[in-house]
Assembly symmetry: C2
Homo-oligomer: 227 residues x 2
């Protein structure tokens, strides 16, 4: 019933070794990038007051920056306490896409189909306003590809109020399960039904703001039409 | 662009105080229970090797047990390292449902609609086989309501191989955003389009295991038909 992470060769260190489920690890970095592209939120783990706190965050990745492994950016308000706690500390960013409920023939073998990535690294607070601007644009485009170019430039005040945290994709592990139930032979022989209920995320009909005028922009139409 | 948590009156302590976004907190415990009922996975934060690790897990809640605030159960293999790390330690379990992409009139005001709960507490390893059995059944029924009663009893060996971690729902905070873009007046005046792209999870057509015989059980049909 768990979706825990094992050692994945994506990671050059052993910090992403949790020691289980090696059969489910994914070795291909392009699969990691595809997952980070598909997922819309991440869960950031930081130490606050002596214990871990896990917070949902929006994020974006940059594969074209100076870090050859790629950089994961997380945004926050400069007033957010967890951001200060994360500065220069080791954090964990986990991204999970649920893709199916696996109804096995026994409670024990029930499972889920999913893709999940765990990134562990030192959180760097981005000081350079240009890099902050770049990360903000990437985050908007991660949400709705192409939208950033259609918007006015952020003001100095907005950029000053935006804290950005960067984590290298250097240490990452990825796991995926994408198959049917794995059952004991006697449960198969007993004739118990088993199967998978696929799960996916869909976008609904766009809801324009009451004060919005003009047609829905092409980038928004494209995003809403994507599955 | 963040979905961070603020102080919520759900919590009787200040450990779930992250200090931001108090306008988005949810004060009603029934809303917390509804979110924990709707969500299918949680993200568990544990300290491993001196830093936080965040792992996707299946879970269930029990509102009828001895803990009057309710108990959140997380399953794992007895061989999983993170479970040993979590024993008697303070952990954080976060559950998030993404419900919309908020396309504002500026990059700065882009946001997401979501519901999210953060539960912080001491992880108790469940030693009692009866409580482990109970938690396993709740987890199966959380995934597919009603399914546990249709399955054979877990064997002693299966129960011995199942580790269960319990966290009280005593310390919990919940936040939600469920509205349109909040923009600066000059951006509204400039005529930039803004709106929301709703996001929801759907279940696809059931995929019976190739060796499965007979009709798809009623509980699976009901779950797959639910939005």
């Amino acid at each position: 019933m768990t979706l825990d992470h094992g050692l994945a060769p994506l990671s050059p260190t052993d910090r992403t070794t949790i020691g289980r489920g090696r059969n489910r690890m994914v070795e291909d970095r392009t699969e990691l990038h595809r997952l980070l592209d598909d997922a819309l939120i991440a869960h950031l783990g930081v130490m606050v007051g002596g214990h871990p706190v896990v917070l949902p965050v929006t994020f974006a990745i940059d594969l074209d920056g100076p870090d050859e492994d790629g950089t994961l950016y997380v945004h926050g308000s400069v007033a957010a306490g967890w951001l200060r706690s994360a500065a220069d500390a080791t954090v964990c960013v986990t991204v999970t896409e649920l893709e199916g409920l696996v109804a096995a023939r026994s409670a024990f073998h029930h499972s889920m189909n999913y893709r999940s990535a765990v990134v562990i690294g030192t959180a760097r607070i981005v000081e350079d306003p240009d890099e902050r601007r770049h990360a903000l644009g990437l985050t908007v485009d991660h949400m709705i590809p192409g939208r950033d170019a259609t918007l006015r430039e952020p003001t100095r005040k907005e950029l000053a109020a935006t804290a950005v945290l960067a984590v290298s994709l250097h240490e990452a592990s990825m796991k995926a399960r994408a198959c049917g139930p794995v059952d004991d032979q006697e449960d198969v022989d007993a004739g118990t039904w088993a199967g998978v209920i696929p799960v996916r995320r869909v976008f609904g009909e766009v809801e324009p703001d009451p004060l919005a005028t003009g047609p829905v922009p092409a980038d928004v139409v494209r995003r809403a039409g994507a599955l």
